[in-house]
């Protein structure tokens, strides 16, 4: 549009006054700019703000912020930290770009279009909360509390999750960190040593570090990597079991290029060899072991030769690993892993790792599995109310647990199946808080159908992730740099150093922008609207943190005085508890219909022309939550697919070729990525970094950048003991220029 006169002429015209006078009457008197004649001139105040705790990943490093006026300009590690110290990773640095990402959610939005194809309208918080509270209450009234499902993730999601689980009374909560990540590890170790293992291996003081799939360097948690590197600097030998030449494999003394899915066979053979050759920790097992004889008898079939064949690894190499572990026992760090939902036979593998640690006597000893003794703080949240067990989807008709070793919550597939069948009851309300089930949970189309059939879907997030396209109401949450909440406690990571404990609480490094709100405000307001006002445990997130700190004799004010971190004397972590035991043969497991002795369960192999799709971490991204970060995208804009170089030659593919994928069920990737040819991957597998290829155009940086591996994970396997997912049982062929290319190794 161009008006038919010049500005000069218009301003000189007689009509100016006639036009301008009504304009001034149509304008509100308030303005964002005000006269302030005494305003200080010149450059802005600079300051360092303490109390930050990172959440670019869940490791949560301690931070300080450099500010100019209200603008956060740089994030650094808190120099007082005995955890990450002044170091932070690339993602931690790039937090600024999350804070100020123009694509971030800013105001409550209402979907006036349809789920999956939204049309957003900004609405007031009051309207948004009325809608959320009203619609969830309607679902509850019509179908019962159990009809509300919750998909939470991250530190802000705990408070709302507890509200829905403990107060409203729905058992249907699925945390990705359990069911698509570490839950199997935790319950397998619980069934073996009575404790969830964390990543509590004393790597700085180990003589051998044993990683099964762990790829530190690509997977960066600052103090954990420091601890690993210190161990290597101190002379630890490194064993890495991985089908791929990972960053850790590149530092290893022994790289076991194992056939995917066969890890349990490998571990059983090592243990059988150690026992047969009396290289196991006999005294430790006598004192702390339970069911060792049954265990030894139960794994005796696993000779080195048998495992070598199954795992496609030389006999000599398995023996070499076993001898190395035995020679250095008990100072060996058998790493329990973290993301372990791989093949649907994972509980048995995790039990095997726990048993191997026991066979080597490597609990509570220098270099072994050693849980640090941290300080105690409060856990203020919603109180548990009495709720009937009858709506637990994890109970069969005989009222027995379907997945007896499930992590807390309800296995994801049980919730989704109930939602789709309406049996045993409908699931009609959905609260998604910080989780992105579209890119987290295998079976995207199934997840979409689940969301479609809901009466109401609400999402709370900082970014417009893929799942937010399915929301009716979308609420903008403050980021970790703009809020109080998480209390991080721990100890120094090298137990050879003076024992210290620390307590730090997240404090905002920048004021919240736009209309973003925190989890306590949002949850409480929904609770009021659902009729639970009298149950509200705290009025603000600051009150919650202060209550929790009070248990440790601290407060937010005191922590601020202490540069954000309180440090006190620590305790020696090496004393083994009197009641500690390693349950090698677990009778309860057998009673529940599962193997009492760790057992190898073979997994399906790739059909002809396909390779197994493996995925993992890249150092500059945390799953899919960082994919829209402009700095991190610049550092690694795509997720190249690793392809064995010999195969690439046969397939006519070269480095940099652009390819897409088709899986065993005919599902094609929406986008493409580039080929990375390497001898560092087995011929039966391909590999790509996880967390790319967002389908949501609102993520203007991350949309269609690389390939979304989860979109190709359509075959859903479920671990029988835990109900958690196995996510590496899908197979792909390549597509180049529209033509499907078979992968010849498996042909």
């Amino acid at each position: 549009m161009a008006f038919n006169l010049t500005r000069r002429k218009f301003l000189q015209s007689a009509s100016l006054a006639a036009v301008a006078l009504p304009l001034s009457k149509a304008v509100a008197s308030e303005s964002g700019i005000k006269r302030s004649p005494h305003e200080s001139k010149g450059s802005l105040k600079e300051e360092t703000v303490v109390g930050g705790i990172c959440e670019m990943c869940f490791w949560r490093c301690q931070l300080v912020g450099k500010k100019r006026d209200d603008r956060l300009v740089k994030i650094e590690g808190n120099p007082k930290s005995v955890d990450n110290g002044s170091s932070i990773c690339a993602r931690g640095n790039a937090g600024i770009k999350l804070l100020y990402d123009p694509d971030r959610l800013k105001y409550p939005l209402k979907n006036v279009g349809e789920r999956g194809n939204p049309k957003w309208k900004r609405i007031s918080w009051k309207e948004a909360l009325d809608e959320c509270g009203g619609k969830l209450k309607a679902v509850q009234d019509k179908y019962g509390s159990q009809s509300i499902s919750v998909f939470p993730h991250g530190s802000t999601a705990k408070y709302p999750m507890h509200f829905f689980e403990r107060t409203v009374g729905t058992p249907n909560v699925s945390e990705a960190s359990f069911f698509q990540c570490r839950g199997i590890r935790d319950t397998a170790y619980l069934a073996t040593i009575g404790k969830a293992p964390g990543e509590k291996v004393d790597m700085p003081n180990a003589k051998v570090i044993f990683l099964l799939g762990g790829h530190f360097g690509e997977n960066v948690h600052v103090s954990h990597v420091k601890s690993y590197i210190k161990g290597l600097q101190n002379g630890a030998k490194l064993v890495v079991v991985d089908p791929r030449y990972s960053a850790s494999a590149a530092k290893s003394d022994i790289w076991v290029q194992i056939k995917p899915g066969t890890d349990t066979a490998f571990l059983l053979a090592i243990m059988n060899y150690l026992i047969k050759n009396k290289k196991h920790a006999e005294d430790f097992i006598d004192e702390y072991g339970d069911g060792f004889e049954e265990f030894a008898a139960g794994i005796k079939e696993w000779t080195l030769e048998k495992a070598a064949k199954e795992c496609d690894v030389p006999v000599a190499q398995i023996k070499e690993v076993a001898d190395l572990l035995a020679a250095n026992a008990p100072s060996v760090s058998i790493h329990p892993g973290r993301h372990v939902s791989w093949y649907g036979n994972d509980f048995q593998r995790q039990r095997s790792l726990a048993c191997l640690t026991g066979v080597l006597g490597a609990y509570y000893v220098k270099g072994g599995w050693v849980p640090a003794i941290g300080p105690k703080v409060g856990k203020t949240s919603w109180e548990h109310k009495e709720h009937e067990e009858e709506h637990n989807l994890n109970l069969n008709s005989d009222e027995e647990l379907i997945y007896p070793y499930t992590p807390p919550g309800t296995p994801t597939e049980l919730i989704r199946d109930a939602a789709l069948t309406g049996k045993p009851y409908p699931i009609k309300g959905c609260v998604i808080w910080g989780q992105n089930p579209i890119q987290t949970i295998p079976g995207q189309e199934k997840m979409k159908k689940v969301l479609k059939q809901m009466d109401f879907v609400m999402c709370v997030d900082v970014m417009p992730t893929d799942v937010t396209m399915w929301a009716d109401i979308l609420l903008p949450e403050v980021s970790y740099l703009e809020r109080y909440d998480y209390i991080k406690t721990g100890t120094q990571w090298d137990f050879a150093e003076e024992h210290q404990q620390y307590i730090s609480a997240r404090m905002p490094l920048a004021a919240p922008m736009f209309e973003r709100k925190d989890q306590v405000y949002i949850t409480n307001e929904i609770a009021i609207r659902m009729g639970y006002e009298k149950d509200i445990p705290v009025k603000s997130v600051e009150e919650m943190v202060d209550k929790n700190l009070k248990v440790a004799g601290l407060s937010l004010a005191q922590l601020k005085k202490e540069e954000g971190i309180h440090i006190r004397e620590g305790k020696n972590p090496y004393n083994i508890p009197e009641d500690f035991e390693v349950v090698f043969y677990n009778e309860d497991l057998e009673d529940d219909g599962f193997p009492g002795v760790p057992t190898y369960i073979p997994v399906e192999q790739p059909p002809a022309g396909f390779a197994r799709l493996l995925y993992g971490r890249v150092p500059v991204h945390t799953f899919n939550r960082t994919q829209n970060n402009v700095w991190l995208n610049k550092a690694m804009p795509s997720n190249p697919v690793w392809l064995n170089d010999e195969l690439a030659g046969k397939m006519g593919l070269a480095d940099g070729d652009e390819v897409g994928f088709i899986n065993q069920e005919g599902v094609k990737s929406r986008t493409t990525t580039i080929v990375k040819t390497t001898p560092g991957i087995r011929k039966d597998s391909v590999y790509m970094g996880h967390g790319y290829g967002s389908a949501n155009p609102l993520m203007s940086v991350g949309v269609n950048a690389g390939v979304d591996d989860t979109s190709l994970i359509t075959k859903i396997t479920v671990d029988p003991e835990t109900g958690a997912h196995g996510m590496r049982n899908n197979f792909v062929k390549f597509i180049k220029d529209g033509k499907v290319i078979d992968i010849p190794s498996a042909a």
């Binding site: 005000k34 006269r35 957003w120």
Partner: protein, 196 residues
């Protein structure tokens, strides 16, 4: 404020433009507002634009919701993605709160202005227009010209093109064209003081 001079009239136009970029709300989208807007379009010779806008509004099932959806899509979060966040830093530094935002704030302060308590970010389009309105009211032609050329136009030009290209509702096309008219030619013609 009582408008008597040409600069006061310009100040009123800047404020009107600033108001028009706020989130659509019945508190200001009144009959008075629309008749003022139509009056301005008449004076500018924008008959076609006026007719087009009028007929779009008249035929809408819910004209307010249409404007709200369009504002959300263009300036907040929208499909396929937010079209044109109204913040200078986004165009100059691909981020909110870039150094540019700080420079704008320092400039406000240098002229004796500050952000109100509930203000948006300093480089928000609305605030820049409000600031220009104050400068016009102050008859501070030098600062007005300097602010337009140093701070406003370097990003606004890109923003304006984007909105005009992507806008699916004539309202924003009209408003952006009016802002164009009163800011873009400023450099060429200079601020017109009342010669009477």
């Amino acid at each position: 404020m009582v408008h008597t001079s040409s600069t006061d009239h310009i100040a009123a136009i800047y404020r009107f433009c600033a108001q028009s970029m706020q989130y659509p709300d019945p508190s200001w989208l009144t009959n008075d507002y629309f008749s003022s807007l139509y009056g301005l379009l008449d004076a500018l010779g924008g008959d076609n634009e006026k007719d087009n806008l009028k007929s779009t509004l008249a035929s809408a099932k819910d004209y307010l919701e249409d404007l709200q959806v369009e504002h959300t899509r263009l300036f907040i979060n929208g499909m396929p993605h937010v079209v044109a966040p109204p913040y200078g830093s986004v165009y100059l530094e691909k981020s909110l709160q870039g150094k540019y935002a700080e420079d704008v704030l320092v400039y406000y302060r240098s002229q004796g202005y500050a952000l109100s308590e509930n203000a948006d970010l300093p480089d928000n389009l609305t605030h820049q227009l409000e600031f220009l309105s104050f400068l016009a009211e102050d008859k501070n032609q030098k600062a007005e010209e300097e602010f337009l050329s140093r701070f406003f136009l370097p990003w606004y030009t890109t923003f304006s093109k984007l909105v005009k290209k992507e806008s699916q509702h004539p309202f924003y096309h009209v408003i952006i064209s009016i802002i164009d008219f009163f800011t873009k030619e400023e450099k060429e013609y200079g601020v017109q003081l009342n010669e009477a």
